[in-house]
């Protein structure tokens, strides 16, 4: 069985999630939206993997598939050595205690009719932990995330976005998961609040030994918080590697474009350097043939890019890129 190596918390191999699109008179399946199309990754304990990409790239779907909140169409997921795809619903329920998700929108991810204490305690209630033990853990967790005792009896609408995310975090962590998938947890918040939450995430990671999958569209946040990073485009990872390396030496044209398009607080930078990529972010139900990025790629090599799909190939230690420019030998990544 794969993934038994010490320290590998999550191993994903060739994960695919296709959504059928029905249409026509008899509601038959016309085509598929290939939301996640062959994603593989390894995540070690205590690491943060940043998953970055624009809308339609499949990063949120990937997060949900890892937790089996969406059923993957194909592929394998090993969590702490256990093959998730082979688990029945009862065992999956048990395993869910150790893998949790933190949602983006602090405004709709909390039940407006529940006081904070109930919200934070809910995971305990669901898994049968009640009474004194539950109360103790709620208080402990609240303190850890920076909520006051007075806050516990209040309702979500009384809090700011940042504070609500803290409630969300407390709820997510109260069962002591090993793996946490954070789906754009700071995107809806003000910059100063984002900073505080990011620091909280790091503190909690060190204190509780957590492993993170941090999903975002914001390169700066990803650059700050990730140990390893995966750049996604239209359901595939196009570049992957240690954050330091990917950000210092981005190879894939899309990664480079993301950097180029990202505004920095540097007024000396000319606006025209802020190049967008030409064209629109394409519809994931209409995937171009060959390299998916080729219609918008400024460094297109010619007809090969339109006809042949490139594979992820190493360009440096642990650094993989999916681009014909680099994979002349078409060396395949070993599973």
């Amino acid at each position: 069985m794969e993934g038994v190596e010490d320290g590998v918390v999550l191993r994903v191999r060739d994960l695919k999630k296709y959504f059928p699109v029905t249409g026509g008179f008899f509601d038959h399946v016309q085509w598929y939206v290939r939301a996640v199309d062959g994603v593989s990754l390894d995540l070690y304990r205590g690491q943060t993997m940043g998953v970055v990409g624009e809308s339609g790239c499949g990063k949120t779907t990937l997060g949900k598939c890892i937790l089996r909140l969406e059923e993957p169409t194909e592929g394998h997921i090993w969590f702490k050595g256990k093959d998730l795809m082979a688990l029945g619903s009862r065992e999956m329920q048990e395993t869910r205690r150790e893998m949790q998700m933190l949602y983006q929108d602090p405004y709709s991810s909390l039940d407006p009719r529940m006081p904070v204490a109930s919200i934070v305690a809910e995971p305990l209630t669901i898994h049968g932990i009640k009474g004194q033990e539950a109360t103790r853990r709620v208080e402990e967790m609240s303190k850890l995330v920076g909520l006051g005792e007075k806050d516990l009896s209040k309702y979500p609408h009384m809090f700011s976005g940042g504070q609500r995310q803290r409630v969300s975090i407390a709820r997510t962590l109260i069962l002591n998961p090993s793996l946490v998938i954070l789906d754009e947890p700071t995107s809806a918040l003000d910059v100063s609040v984002q900073a505080r939450l990011l620091m909280l995430f790091q503190r909690l990671q060190r204190a509780l030994g957590l492993t993170y999958v941090f999903i975002s569209h914001d390169m700066r946040t990803i650059a700050y918080i990730s140990d390893v990073v995966a750049v996604m485009y239209l359901g595939q990872i196009v570049e992957q590697g240690p954050a330091r390396i990917v950000f210092a030496e981005a190879k894939h044209p899309y990664t480079q474009a993301l950097f180029a398009a990202m505004p920095t607080a540097d007024p000396d930078r000319e606006l025209r350097d802020l190049i967008g990529v030409t064209g629109e972010v394409p519809d994931p139900s209409e995937v171009p043939s060959g390299c998916r990025f080729s219609p918008r790629c400024a460094f297109k090599k010619g007809s090969m890019c339109d006809e042949e799909e490139p594979v992820l190939a190493p360009v440096g230690p642990d650094h993989l890129v999916r681009c014909h420019i680099y994979s002349h030998d078409r060396a395949e990544v070993q599973s």
Binding site: S192, A195, F247, D266, L271, L274
Partner: protein, 359 residues
């Protein structure tokens, strides 16, 4: 037309600005009490200039934009101050006169293009209407949006419309939009977010306004599309000779786009200067903190701004930022600092910086 110079220094404040807001005060009465949304806002926008208005949520930046447009609905609304535009005080103008300005001389694009466009008309039809009629009102969802208001249909408007449509098509084409004529025949929901925003911007610039208020127009867009839109806006200033008041919480965008920047906190402008000064040599503690926070450097600890934004119903005495300020002095909690021009074109509202306080 000459392109807007992006000087690194604070050039002398332009005489005869396009827009001048003086001591604007806005209040809203709610169930919980009177919200002091704007507390003495003063701001200038020059000709062919992009002014970035930065602030976090609740700072009052959107309210400022809406006040200029004259579309605040919650009473009492504007309770003090003046807004001078092309020689007239907008706040003391007749309704009829104001209607001629809204949507024509001053236009707006805001965050959500889908709620701003009428879903049952094609994009081309709406563009045509925006030339013919004005563009600002409140749509059924309660959002400020580009809809239509009445105006007279003049004889040569047909020709004007055709010309304007042609120029809109060519402008869209020049930005890499494939087949803009086909685009004009689409319905809003058939277009992507970026396309819709371009349409909105086209609509907002059709009537030849002098001021375009852009309220977070790229927040909901992917970063690569955002870059395209920002370039489009920059191009508008050069081609159409208008000014933009760009309201945002995204310092990066404002840094790339603006000529001058104003920073808002709790309904006041705490610092106003050229973009270079704001980002390289900020003076106000809040501005300094914001700029620091934006510089996320991997491995380095992040600056925090402790505390929370104040309750706009129950504002603290003295300087509103003092409870969270890292350079606070005892006097800051007692007296409100003056807004003082510490350098040519550089205004700051911090007592520690210039030692001038209000009685």
């Amino acid at each position: 037309m000459p392109s807007t110079p992006r000087s690194g220094e604070d050039s002398a404040v332009k005489t005869d600005p396009l827009v001048e807001i003086r001591d604007l005060e806005v209040r809203f009465s709610t169930l919980r009490g009177l919200v002091n949304a704007l507390n003495g806002v003063s701001l200038r926008v020059g000709h062919q200039e992009i002014v970035g208005l930065i602030g976090e949520s609740g700072s009052g930046k959107t309210v400022t934009g809406l006040s200029i447009l004259g579309v605040l609905s919650t009473p009492p609304g504007i309770t003090g101050g003046e807004i001078w535009f092309e020689g007239d005080d907008l706040l003391r103008m007749s309704e009829a006169h104001m209607r001629r300005i809204q949507g024509r001389r001053i236009t707006m694009v805001s965050q959500d293009p889908l709620s701003s466009l009428n879903p049952v008309f094609t994009v081309g039809e709406q563009l045509e209407d925006s030339i013919n009629w004005g563009t600002i009102s409140k749509n059924s969802a309660g959002h400020w949006a580009t809809v239509r208001i009445l105006d007279r249909h003049t004889p040569n408007s047909r020709r004007r419309i055709q010309e304007a449509l042609r120029s809109a098509a060519s402008r869209l084409a020049s930005l890499g939009m494939p087949s803009p004529e086909k685009l004009l025949r689409n319905y809003p929901h058939e277009l992507s977010g970026g396309m819709r925003q371009r349409v909105l911007i086209a609509m907002a610039s059709m009537s030849g306004p002098s001021l375009l208020i852009a309220d977070e127009p790229t927040t909901a867009l992917d970063v690569t599309i955002q870059a395209q839109i920002l370039n489009l806006l920059k191009g508008l200033v050069e081609d159409a000779g208008l000014s933009i008041l760009y309201i945002s919480h995204d310092l990066g965008v404002v840094a790339q786009l603006s000529d001058r920047v104003a920073v808002m906190y709790a309904g006041q402008i705490v610092e106003e200067a050229s973009v270079h000064t704001i980002f390289k040599e900020p003076m106000h503690p809040y501005t300094k903190a914001l700029v620091e926070v934006t510089r996320l450097k991997p491995g380095e600890p992040l600056t925090e701004i402790p505390g929370e934004v104040p309750d706009m119903i129950d504002l603290p005495s003295g300087c509103y930022f003092s409870p969270r300020c890292s350079e606070v002095m005892p006097v800051c909690a007692e007296l409100e600092p003056e807004t003082w021009e510490i350098d040519a074109g550089h205004k700051c509202k911090c007592g520690k910086v210039h030692n001038r306080w209000k009685e």
